[in-house]
Symmetry: C2
Subunit: 326 residues, 2 copies
C-alpha cells in the first residue's frame, strides 16, 4: 500500500461560465465537484496505475462529508469497466483514512471561462486544526506507516498546524523505514528537507525560493545539500531534472504540449512513487513521471490523465544522463 | 404569520479577496455563508421588524442541510440582545417550512474585491425539482396559507418547475383569501400577473421587459392592466412609484446614498408586506419600504439593513401623491 498525506484537503469545485467578466453577475453553465488536495490527486493516479493506496489528512464539516462521499465512489466505475476489458490495469482501491476535525474542509473554486479556457482560482483557507486533532493524525499516521511501502506528504498546511509538521512526519517515516517523498513549498518545505526525506519534487519557483538560484542544476544540488536524499525538479515543458545518490538525469517530454497544467505535478509524484515501489530504475521512474504529467496536461478534465496519451508518450520520453557527479 | 415562498433557495457565500484578477489564483481572505434566495431575505427583514414568518420552498442535499442549519440559528442572538435592551422590537421567529428535495440546493458566490468593493457574482443553477416534489410543495403551501396574514412569492424558478408555477400559487392564495405579493421576473412574472396578484414589485428593468416601456408611470399602469391589483415599481435611487386602486404615489429617499444594493429590493418587499399586515396607509407603507431599502444599501453587510439608519430615514422619506387617477 502507498500512503498519501494531505493535511489541507479540499473539495475542488469547477464552475464553467460562458465568459468571466469582473464585477458582473454570471450564471454557472456547468459545474463539477471532486475530492482534492495534492495527496488525494496523487492517490487517484496511483489507483489508476493499479496501486492500492490509503489517504490520510483532515476532513470535517459539511464540505468534508461531501469530500468523503465522493472519495468513497473512487475508483470510478469507468476505470473498472476499462479494466474488465483488459485494456488497462484494474484501478486499485483507495482507503479513506482521513481524521475527522471539527472545522469545515475548504473548497477551492476554479472558474473556467468557456470562451478562452482560462481559469480563475479562489481558494478558501483551511479549517483551524487544534492540538488534539493533530495528535490524532500522528497516531493514525504511525499506524498506517506499518503497512506502507512508501509515503507522500503533500501540499499546504491548514491553519493551526505548526510549520515543522512535515519535518515531524518525515522523521516518523524514516524511523519506520518507509521511503518518504515531500511535496510542499515555502517554510514547511525548508524545515521538512532538514529532516532528510528520501525525495522532494519542487518546481522551478519552489526551488528558487528555497535556494535563491534559478539555475536548475545548481539549485537542485543545493537542495540536496540541505538534506534531501534525492531531488526531482519539475521544469514544466522542459521536463524533469533528477539529482540522486545514483546519478543525475534529465528527462524531456517528446514534444511541447498545450493544455491545463493543473495536477501535472501530482501525477509526477504518483509516477515517481509507483516507480520506487515497483523497483524501477531512475530512468524508468522519470519516463513514467514525465509521461504521466504530460498526459495530465493533455487531459480535457483538469487533474486527470489521458491514458492513451500516457501509453503513447511513455517510450518516447527522452532521458539524458549527466556525466557530472550528483 | 407572514409566509414567504422561495422556490429557488440558495446558500449565499461571500468571498473577500484582496483584489480580483481574472485568470489568477486567489487566497480567500474572509468568507461568510448565509441562507439566501429572495424569500429568505424578506423573512429575515420581517423577523427583524417583529413579524413572525414561515418560509417555504425547496431545500436539498448537503448545501440544503447547511442552509437549514443556518436558518435554524435565525433570528440571531445579536437581534435578541438588542431587543432585551428595549431599543428595538424583538426579532420574531422564522419557521422552517421548506420541502426537502433530492437535488442539491444551489450556492451563489459573491466575490468581493476588498480593494474596490466591487462584487463578481457566480450563481449555480438550482436543483432539478420533480413532479412529486412540486406536489409536496403545493400541499405544504395550502396548509401554510390557512395561518397566513399575507404571502410573498419570490425569485426565480429552479429547473423542472413549470413556468406557470407562480400563477398557480397566486390563484391558491386568492382562493384562500390571503393577500399575495409576487416578486419575480420574465415569463414567470408575466404569467403570474395574469393570475391577478394583489401586488407586484418590479424594478425598472423588469417593468421594461414586461411592458416594453421605460417610462415608469406608463409601464406601471400597463402592468396593472395586465392583472396586478397594485404595482410598486422600485426605481433605484429615485425611490418607488406605487400605482394602486387607492391612488398613485411617488416615494423618494431623502438623499442619494452609496453602498451595496444587494437585498434592497427584498427589504422593500418586507416593508410593503409588513405595512399591509399592520394596516398602514399606502404612504406609510411606502415610507417604510423606501427607508428599509435605503438602510439596506447603507449596511456594511450585503442584504442586512442598518437599523439606526432605517429609524433616522423613516420620517424623512418624501411622499408625493399624483393627482392623476391610477
Amino acid at each position: 500500500m502507498i500512503l498519501t498525506v494531505t493535511l489541507n484537503t479540499a473539495l475542488d469545485v469547477t464552475y464553467g461560465v460562458p465568459e468571466l467578466v469582473p464585477h458582473a453577475s454570471h450564471r454557472v453553465s456547468d459545474m463539477s465537484e471532486r475530492p482534492g488536495g495534492k495527496g488525494l490527486n496523487v492517490a487517484r493516479v496511483l489507483s489508476a496505475l493499479g496501486h492500492e493506496t490509503a489517504v490520510t489528512g483532515f476532513a470535517g464539516g459539511s464540505t468534508g462529508a461531501v469530500l468523503r462521499e465522493l472519495l468513497a465512489g473512487l475508483p470510478s466505475r469507468d476505470a473498472n469497466t476499462k479494466a474488465e476489458n483488459g485494456a488497462t490495469p484494474a484501478a486499485a482501491p483507495i482507503t479513506d483514512a482521513l481524521v475527522t476535525v471539527a472545522g469545515n474542509t475548504r473548497r477551492t473554486i476554479a472558474v473556467v471561462d468557456r470562451a478562452t479556457g482560462d481559469t480563475t482560482q479562489l481558494n478558501e483557507p483551511g479549517p483551524l486544526v487544534n492540538a488534539d486533532e493533530w495528535t490524532a493524525l500522528l497516531g493514525r499516521y504511525e499506524e498506517l506507516l506499518t503497512g506502507a511501502d512508501a509515503v507522500a506528504l503533500c501540499g499546504s498546511l491548514p491553519p493551526g498546524i505548526h510549520v515543522g509538521a512535515y519535518a515531524e512526519l518525515v522523521r516518523l517515516a524514516r524511523t519506520a523505514g518507509v521511503p518518504v517523498l515531500l511535496d510542499t513549498s515555502g517554510e514547511p518545505l525548508r524545515r521538512g528537507i532538514a529532516a532528510r526525506p528520501d525525495l522532494i519534487k519542487p518546481n522551478a519557483d519552489e526551488l528558487a525560493r528555497l535556494t535563491g538560484s534559478r539555475e536548475p542544476l545548481r539549485a537542485t544540488r543545493d537542495a540536496r545539500r540541505r538534506g534531501a536524499h534525492g531531488v526531482v525538479a519539475s521544469l514544466g515543458p522542459d521536463g524533469m531534472l533528477a539529482v540522486t545518490p545514483d546519478g543525475v538525469w534529465q528527462a524531456s517530454p517528446p514534444a511541447k504540449v498545450l493544455g491545463n497544467p493543473t495536477g501535472a505535478g501530482d501525477s509526477a509524484v504518483a509516477g515517481l512513487l509507483s516507480g520506487l515501489v515497483e523497483g524501477l530504475s531512475w530512468p524508468d521512474r522519470l519516463r513514467r513521471a514525465v509521461a504521466l504529467s504530460t498526459a495530465t496536461v493533455l487531459s480535457p478534465t483538469a487533474g486527470d490523465f489521458d491514458r492513451a496519451a500516457y501509453e503513447e508518450l511513455l517510450p518516447r520520453v527522452g532521458i539524458e544522463e549527466h556525466s557530472t557527479a550528483a
